[in-house]
């Protein structure tokens, strides 16, 4: 398949390991990955904070960048984020319509019909649960609210994780409870958010896991931020980073929650500069 990657603004800028692992995984499974460079952001932050008007140009850029998928140029768009996929599927067209942009809304719907969160792409579109991964670590999985209740991915991510060779997958107590991120909620209601985070990190620590994984870097940034502050040493890795790991090319564990392993970084090239 020819799959266009929507890296998400957050992962592109702060957590490149997640989209890199998505590329590595899909290429290993024999698919061609395309990265349309015009992409930036899906508009979720603006929409959820109430800035619909400001969201319109952001959404327009996303929709126009990925419009070729509706014409069959690519077979699918993959977004390694439950909440961004949720925004594409449930918010973009609504915001366009509210702005009187019916044509853009229709294109947004056509794009969203072929946009998948990572576990959806793997299980529903590619028909896989065993992606041939090897990850010899104790892992616990946080399902993330939007994957669970907006996309209804159900146990797809867990089925993928259970099929990983050598993994020690431990159940996270009160897994379906929100970590308290909620985008700008974490800033506008910082105290309430921190109280929710406290309970989430306590549950993560209780599992004794070395790695916390999820399908959304934003939630991982939040829980990871708490785990890092508390000095727990629990690493926050995206589901793609776990699934991309193989015996031949294992995903190395970062030294601390947020450290990215040095050796994964190729030398800077002219193009990258």
């Amino acid at each position: 398949m020819r799959i266009a990657l929507a890296a998400t603004c957050l992962a592109d800028t702060l957590f490149p390991g997640a989209p890199r692992a998505t590329v590595r995984l899909l290429e290993r499974l024999g698919h061609e990955v395309v990265f349309p460079a015009d992409q930036a952001c899906c508009g979720q932050m603006h929409v959820n904070t109430g800035y619909f008007r400001e969201a319109v140009p952001v959404i327009r850029n996303h929709v126009e960048t990925f419009a070729p998928v509706a014409d069959g140029e690519w077979d699918a768009v993959v977004m390694p984020s439950g909440s961004c996929t949720g925004s594409v599927r449930h918010q973009q067209a609504m915001v366009c319509r509210r702005a009187g942009l019916d044509d853009l809304a229709a294109t947004a719907e056509a794009v969203s019909a072929k946009t998948y969160e990572l576990s959806e792409l793997l299980v529903d579109v590619l028909g896989l649960t065993d992606v041939g991964a090897w990850f010899p670590h104790r892992v616990t999985y946080h399902p993330t609210c939007h994957s669970l209740r907006m996309l209804h991915v159900g146990d797809k991510p867990l089925r993928l994780l259970r099929a990983v060779e050598a993994i020690d997958l431990v159940e996270l107590p009160a897994a379906d409870s929100c970590c308290g991120f909620g985008g700008t909620f974490a800033l506008k209601n910082a105290d309430t958010s921190a109280a929710m985070l406290e309970d989430k990190t306590a549950n993560v620590r209780g599992t004794g896991a070395e790695v916390l994984t999820a399908g959304d870097m934003s939630c991982l940034m939040h829980i990871g931020g708490g785990l890092s502050r508390q000095g727990t040493g629990v690493r926050a890795l995206h589901l793609a980073e776990v699934l991309a790991s193989t015996r031949e090319e294992p995903t190395p564990l970062p030294e601390t929650t947020f450290t990215r392993p040095e050796r994964e970084r190729p030398a800077r090239t002219e193009a990258a500069r």
Binding site: T49, L187, F258
Partner: protein, 519 residues
């Protein structure tokens, strides 16, 4: 322990919290708008460890019970769809259905009153009580009468309103405000309740323990006297059936049945949205409501009455139909489904925000997720201040949009979508205001960057310059505002040395077949 019988139930309109041994909140002028905005109020309630423990335990218990009894209904999703459809039908035909209800209530010997707002509704109830020469009325727990501040209004007229629901009685004795739609004293544990009874319930046995059965027995003895002497009862209504004029109240304690049958006069105050078109429709809601609210298959008492039955029960029945902002909510295409609410409070019990901050932080008798969409809509039309100057404007932000509320709502109110819509309205209302709004400035700047791949790439490259900020563990622990709100409790990852798109260009761009995509 105080031996003074303080005399039920003079809840003062405004009291100095410091004078009150129990009531943590001063009583508001407006039951739908009191106290600080949500973040400030939550900051205070979060400090109350006892409250958090009580709430964490209680919501967990109800959540588990609800999940179990909902899980055993094979057609639960179909029931939710049916409940949602009936309510949509009601909203689409509300004026006609209300007239039909009025005709049928009158035909069966009842009297129907129409109240535009709280003041009108309170006036009607007070006049009825006075006409009956009553200085005391017994009450069934009711959100509509909480919403209009009926007890306080009656007290101003020298009429004592006695709450007969156990939890509502606890709240009233403590001179407190309810913190939950269904379990108004959920923020209290049993030893606090014993202390409240000993201090405030004049006839509580002095050796009262905190065993729930003993507490209930004490309240029973206290209330029985009231049931037998009261001439007037005031109730709310869970449902009103338009085609028969039947009113329905569901409850667990039997106090409602007492109030609905013993006094000579019954006054029911009901929000105009509480209608169902036909008697058959009750079949859907009487399955949805108890399982969603108390986690029971069926509630212990379901009382229904149609007008007046000679020689049986109250011989005078008044129905007060309350608008109080509902017509304006109905006019709103997105927000109107908040009127579908049947007050089960399942959304409160699953809400991670409510569980931690409690009901008082919402500054309204409607707390939790449903309160966050209902309260600002009701008050927007009843003298609401536009924009962020209204503390209720902070309510739509009192959610992480986790969606747990929508998942359990028995009538499928899409609370997260309405929250987002209300946020947009609040933002738009503020656009005309002068002065610098840091959020607006930041959002506009972010939109400019995020609406273009080149600008975004540039911003990402600039961010990598900060890759050394976090030190060895790559974590930033101290940051200037507004990021300081984040770093107070969490680290922030330092930017990487290379963004994803920089890596992509380095790895993939040289291959010709990717050129178009990587343009």
């Amino acid at each position: 322990m105080s031996q003074t019988f303080l005399g039920l139930p003079t809840r003062r309109r405004t009291t100095d919290a410091a004078d009150e041994p129990f009531g943590p909140v001063p009583h508001p002028q407006e039951p739908l708008r009191w106290g600080d905005d949500f973040p400030a109020a939550a900051k205070q309630t979060l400090k109350n460890d006892q409250l958090r423990r009580n709430l964490g335990h209680a919501t967990q218990v109800i959540r588990t019970k609800r999940a179990a009894v909902v899980g055993e209904v094979p057609d639960w999703e179909a029931l939710r769809d049916a409940g949602s459809a009936v309510k949509q039908q009601v909203m689409a035909h509300l004026p006609d259905l209300l007239q039909q209800l009025e005709e049928n209530v009158v035909a069966r010997g009842g009297v129907v009153h129409w109240a535009r707002d709280a003041a009108e509704a309170n006036r009607i109830v007070a006049d009825i009580a006075k006409a009956k020469g009553a200085d005391e009325v017994v009450k069934i727990k009711s959100m509509a009468t909480q919403e209009i501040g009926l007890n306080e209004a009656l007290a101003d007229e020298g009429i004592a309103a006695i709450e007969t629901d156990l939890a509502e009685l606890i709240v009233q004795l403590a001179d407190d405000m309810p913190s939950h739609i269904l379990v108004p004293a959920i923020h209290r544990n049993r030893s606090e309740i014993r202390d409240i009874f000993l201090a405030r319930m004049g006839d509580a046995p002095p050796d009262l323990s905190d065993v729930p059965r003993e507490l209930a027995m004490a309240a029973r003895a206290h209330l029985r006297r009231k049931f037998l002497s009261a001439k007037v009862a005031v109730s709310g209504a869970n449902f009103a059936v338009a085609d028969t004029g039947t009113l329905a109240v569901v409850e667990s304690e039997g106090n409602g049945r007492m109030c609905l049958t013993l006094p000579e006069t019954l006054v029911t105050v009901m929000g105009i949205e509480k209608l169902v078109p036909t008697f058959d429709d009750l079949e859907v809601f009487l399955q949805l409501l108890p399982r969603s609210s108390t986690g029971e298959r069926m509630n212990p008492y379901t009382s229904m009455w149609s007008g007046v039955t000679p020689g049986d029960g109250p011989q005078e029945f008044h129905l007060v139909l309350l608008d109080n902002g509902r017509t304006d909510v109905l006019a709103d295409e997105v927000g109107r489904s908040a009127l579908h609410c049947i007050r089960c409070s399942a959304c409160l019990n699953v809400c991670p925000v409510y569980e931690r901050v409690g009901g008082h932080a919402y500054g309204s008798v409607y707390p939790g997720p449903i309160g966050a969409i209902l309260t600002p809509q009701l008050t927007a039309s009843t003298g609401g201040v536009s924009g962020h100057h209204d503390p209720n404007a902070s309510l739509p932000y009192a959610s992480s949009l986790c969606g747990a509320c929508y998942e359990v709502c028995p009538v499928k109110i899409d609370i997260p979508s309405i929250l987002v819509d209300l946020r947009a309205r609040e933002v738009d209302a503020d656009r005309s205001s002068r002065g610098v709004d840091p959020w607006r400035t930041a959002m506009k700047a972010a939109a400019w960057v995020m609406a273009d791949g080149d600008r975004f790439a540039l911003a990402g490259r600039a961010a990598t310059l900060g890759s050394g900020l976090g030190g060895r563990d790559h974590a930033i622990s101290v940051a200037p505002p507004p990021a300081s709100a984040w770093t107070k409790a969490r680290d922030l990852p330092a930017p990487p040395r290379q963004t994803f798109r920089q890596w992509w260009q380095a790895e993939h761009e040289t291959t010709p077949e990717h050129e178009e995509g990587a343009r």
